[in-house]
């Protein structure tokens, strides 16, 4: 077995990719595909593939795989510079539960990106993960500042509660950083809605991966653990956009796309459309949503064709292309992606 030539182990498609792709990202993606398959044969192939690609680039064992977290206490100020450093990487829990929730949530988020997508933090270069907690006075928000910081408010108890309580919310904010370093989708209109949707998709996957939930078992709600009574039961629903709370006006398909000047052209509204496409893809396929669906969406986020002004139609086409190249033109994965975009009336081909 150990002398079996590579061509008998790897599909021609995969070999072709291994030969052509020279970027570390693509190599890690290919290796990831192989690693996810638990069969002995493919595990051997993975080892062989590592031997093939190692001389070409920087990938080496033992690099990456652990986050570098710093949590700061803003002590209810609206100062935008980091406040008091209260817990850094490797330090044990502190008394303040919000600090620990942010620290742990970043850890679980890092873990999904590393375990499944072989991504080393926000920039894939081990970038420090910095959370600023207790921002503002009863501040009803969590946000990414575009400069490497995630801010978390305590909520007013009516609309939102402590925003560090939501693992999907922490994953959502960190993913804004990932998106900024990859497709850098412009935060308005359809590209802004895709930016928002990617944060919901990967935020939801962080939670599902941590809870070991299948697509069928997951609730597909966003912000369930941080809403107050006015926004209960959740901020958004990927399963049924527009039904998450009494104010939720998310559309579930292109026929109901909302044209507005508010919220950068409704980025948190129209994200319901790509969110639902991912949900339909994942539930059509069944199993663990972070596997094939997550990998297809992650490949798309890294694809150079996905530029800052990407539309839903282009994004959909790129997901389909990755589903076909990864799993085969007529694979059930490609069919599920097609079903996802069909459900939201976005033409994908």
């Amino acid at each position: 077995m150990s002398h079996q030539p590579l061509s008998c182990i790897l599909s021609p498609d995969l070999l072709h990719k291994l030969a052509l792709d020279t970027t570390a990202k693509h190599r890690s993606t290919i290796l990831n595909t192989l690693e996810l398959d638990q069969s002995f044969r493919l595990r051997r192939a993975e080892l062989a593939a590592r031997q093939v690609v190692r001389p070409l680039g920087s990938m080496s064992a033992g690099v990456g795989g652990s986050p570098n977290r710093s949590i700061y206490d803003q002590r209810h100020s609206t100062e935008n510079a980091p406040g008091t450093l209260v817990r850094k990487e490797g330090q044990g829990p502190v008394k303040d539960v919000s600090i620990n929730q942010a620290y742990d949530g970043f850890g679980f988020t890092y873990k999904l990106y590393w375990d499944i997508f072989h991504r080393d933090s926000i920039d894939d270069q081990g970038m420090p993960i910095e959370g600023l907690v207790h921002y503002g006075d009863a501040y009803d928000n969590a946000f990414w500042d575009g400069a490497g910081h995630m801010f978390f408010g305590d909520g007013d108890g009516q609309l939102l509660t402590d925003t560090t309580k939501g693992l999907d919310v922490i994953g959502h904010e960190l993913t804004h950083g990932v998106t900024q370093h990859e497709a850098n989708l412009t935060y308005s209109g359809q590209s802004g809605a895709l930016n928002e949707s990617l944060s919901d998709v990967f935020g939801s996957l962080v939670k599902q991966y941590h809870l070991k939930q299948t697509a069928a078992k997951a609730d597909w709600l966003i912000g369930k653990d941080i809403v107050g009574p006015q926004l209960a039961p959740a901020l958004r629903s990927m399963k049924a956009p527009g039904t998450a709370n009494q104010y939720d006006d998310q559309p579930a398909d292109m026929d109901h796309y909302v044209h507005t000047s508010k919220d950068n052209g409704g980025v948190h509204t129209n994200s319901g459309i790509p969110n639902h496409a991912f949900y339909v893809t994942a539930t059509t396929l069944g199993g663990k949503a972070w596997m094939a669906p997550g990998n297809i969406w992650y490949d798309t986020l890294l694809d150079s064709k996905v530029t800052p002004r990407t539309t839903f139609t282009l994004f959909a086409a790129v997901t389909l292309r990755h589903a076909r190249s990864r799993y085969g033109t007529t694979s059930k994965e490609a069919q599920a992606v097609q079903a996802g975009w069909n459900a939201v009336k976005v033409r994908a081909r």
Partner: protein, 94 residues
């Protein structure tokens, strides 16, 4: 005066309409200053940011109206108490 807060993680628009006379005097002073001049914060919003609030403040006085707009994180510290106090009275607009 009328405050519209938009954006944020929830994307929920919040609106408050308040009579300036009902505000604390220091906040009335800030509102008067804003009638005469635009105040800007030290920060500038960055293009890569996400989920940040935007505020639009409409102030009416002696038959004319001024509009002031800030995106987080560029809200000036002198204006923030006024925005916080108006936000507390705001209701979801949809």
């Amino acid at each position: 005066m009328k405050l519209v807060r938009s954006g944020g993680l929830g994307g929920l628009e919040m609106v408050a309409t308040v009579d300036a006379a009902d505000l604390p005097t220091d906040q009335q002073d800030v509102a008067s200053t804003l009638l005469a001049q635009d105040l800007r914060g030290p920060g500038t919003s960055r293009p890569g940011g996400a989920d940040q609030f935007s505020y639009q403040l409409e102030i009416q006085h002696d038959g004319h109206t001024v509009l002031r707009h800030w995106d987080e994180p560029e809200v000036p510290e002198t204006v923030r108490p006024l925005l916080t106090s108006l936000t507390r009275q705001a209701k979801p607009s949809r």
